[in-house]
């Protein structure tokens, strides 16, 4: 601390490797972050407005494309909202299939994230291994749904494909492999000094702050708060499937890794139970195209946390208003809190800690607040600037 002048460092929004463009303006004192200002919206596509102009059936496809990683969470949430408006009860078999797909998606999303976290701290071997093993769950998803990313399993009134008894052995053998691997990774991550040095006590979010800033999902649970929509506000078959809500009192990036890894193991148990206890019967019911006037609030525990949709119908085949709040937006205020007081070098891993964003370090502009002078640095020059700050104190 005490480099003298506070400089503003804009991060993002564009980077060839960024999944979601976001921009953060950091005010840094030497190498320590003293203030963070998020500027989102670079990926704002106006989906809520677009949904008002499309039919309920067309909107399933639009909801699926809100996210490329948790596409199933969005369609589940959407279909539940519309089913409530229509007063339709989904067949139990469909509810179990929705649960299986949701948990497969959680495994794929969490393993993707742990890989990225490893990459952000320079542990690319773990990244490569994890992503290799992640292919197993992608194969299962493709085998069950026909697709790797947009599974298109959900429809209003149930699911579009069945999981037959013949498919179960293949799914189970994939799960057995994944379980063995995830246990191995938890062991590696907990004992590897290079990981511990970069993640323990980094990006701390105290439980009180996590609650006050309305954080959700693994970010909240890694701060020791036991909160999970699957348990608290059950949907699909979660009220019939026994499972534990994983929490960790670490409050740091390490805790976030462990929570997600343990959640993957829990997901495997949920899928096994659901496949074993799958009720027989129909997978969907027919629903009318016109929805009577009404409103509903639908919630789902997406891989990143609480996802909430609000639907209002007006008696036509198109919604009057549709509102979506995805978990990443809910975690941005908590993220800003985590970044305060951190070193510039820890920005990527703390950013990645809430999943899914990571910072763009390739091009930054430095503004000297005293003189108002603006310089654009590339990564190399910026690195040298930071080293100079280090040497000064």
């Amino acid at each position: 601390m005490g480099y003298g002048s506070i400089v503003k460092v804009p991060f993002g929004p564009q980077h060839p490797a960024l999944k979601e463009p976001e921009n953060f303006t950091f005010e840094i004192d030497g190498d320590i972050i003293v203030n963070v200002k998020p500027r989102i919206g670079y990926n704002h596509r106006g989906i809520e407005k677009a949904m008002e102009a499309r039919t309920y059936i067309q909107n399933i496809y639009l909801a699926e494309r809100i996210c490329g990683i948790c596409s199933d969470a969005h369609t589940t949430c959407y279909c539940q909202a519309i089913e409530e408006l229509l007063n339709v009860e989904v067949p139990s078999r469909a509810k179990y299939i929705r649960t299986v797909i949701a948990e497969l998606e959680r495994i794929h999303s969490h393993s993707l994230w742990v890989g990225i976290a490893a990459h952000e701290i320079g542990f690319d071997t773990l990244f490569m291994h994890l992503w290799r093993d992640r292919e197993t769950v992608m194969d299962i998803l493709e085998f069950v749904s026909g697709n790797r990313v947009h599974y298109a399993m959900n429809t209003i009134g149930g699911v579009r494909r069945d999981i037959t008894d013949e498919m179960i052995p293949k799914i189970n053998s994939g799960l057995n492999f994944l379980e063995k691997k995830i246990k191995h990774y938890i062991n590696t991550i907990s004992n590897e000094p290079t990981i511990l040095k970069r993640t323990v006590n980094v990006g701390v979010l105290k439980p009180k702050d996590a609650v006050e800033l309305c954080a959700v999902g693994p970010t909240l649970r890694a701060s020791g708060v036991k909160n999970d929509v699957r348990k608290d506000d059950p949907y699909a078959a979660y009220d019939e499937v026994p499972f534990n809500v994983i929490t960790n009192d670490g409050c740091d990036v390490f805790a976030r890794i462990i929570v997600r890894c343990e959640e993957m193991l829990e997901s495997i148990r949920i899928i096994r139970y659901a496949l074993e206890h799958m009720p027989s019967g129909m997978t969907r019911v027919r629903v009318p195209l016109v929805v009577p006037p009404g409103e509903s609030v639908s919630r789902v525990e997406a891989p990143r946390g609480e996802l909430i949709h609000y639907a209002k119908s007006n008696g036509t085949s198109k919604p009057e208003r549709y509102k979506v709040r995805s978990p990443t937006l809910a975690n941005i205020p908590a993220l800003c809190k985590m970044l305060m007081g951190q070193h510039v070098a820890d920005i990527p891993i703390v950013l990645a800690g809430i999943d899914p964003c990571f910072a763009c370090m390739d091009r930054v502009a430095i503004i000297d607040l005293k003189t108002g002078e603006k310089k654009v640095f590339n990564f190399e020059v910026f690195r040298r600037h930071i080293q100079k700050c280090y040497r000064k104190h």
């Binding site: 998020p38 500027r39 989102i40 919206g41 704002h44 106006g46 809520e48 407005k49 677009a50 102009a53 409530e84 609650v211 006050e212 800033l213 309305c214 954080a215 909160n227 999970d228 929509v229 608290d232 506000d233 409103e295 509903s296 609030v297 919630r299 609480e306 909430i308 609000y310 209002k312 009057e320 208003r321 509102k323 709040r325 937006l329 809910a330 941005i332 205020p333």
Partner: protein
């Protein structure tokens, strides 16, 4: 943990006149219509007396002459309490709740951006999701403009600049 009906009863007892309408459409869902000027009173009651700290989001709706705001709170993560109120579209102003619920900051900014509601007392109501060059006074989620019209307006303003 209180049930839906117990929450409603408690709120009616303490807040009385602030509540205009209330209903429980299904388990774990409560909709309450309140007077817009009592928002802070109701939110501090939820926060202090019921321990509701989690705001899931704020939904804004264009009702024609009025704008409706729905604050979705989660009681113990489980019961979703949706507080609704209306404000006139001609002067869409409401007090900010950021001082009571710090997690509301981005949700208020989002509604400000897309529906033009001014949250009085919010520390920073700068643009959140719309581009900087988006025409001033044009609010995409208001019903006046269709998607096609919005596209025309924004393309025209791009051409001028």
């Amino acid at each position: 943990m209180l049930s839906e009906d117990e929450i409603l009863e408690k709120m009616k007892n303490f807040l009385g006149n602030a509540i205009l309408e209330a209903n429980v459409p299904r388990t774990r869902r409560i909709f309450i219509k309140i007077k817009s000027e009592t928002l802070k009173e109701v939110v501090s009651f939820l926060s202090n007396e019921l321990g509701v700290k989690h705001l899931s989001t704020i939904t804004g709706l264009d009702l024609g002459e009025e704008i409706e705001l729905i604050y979705h709170f989660a009681y113990k993560g489980s019961i979703e309490i949706s507080l609704r109120l209306t404000i006139p579209k001609k002067a869409p102003k409401i007090t900010s709740i950021v001082d009571l619920i710090p997690g509301a900051t981005l949700y208020e900014r989002e509604v400000h951006d897309l529906l033009g509601v001014i949250f009085e007392g919010h520390p920073d109501l700068s643009r959140l999701v719309l581009p900087e060059e988006w025409p001033k006074g044009l609010y995409p989620l208001r019903k006046e403009n269709s998607v096609e019209e919005l596209r025309k307006i924004t393309q025209k303003s791009k051409g001028e600049s």
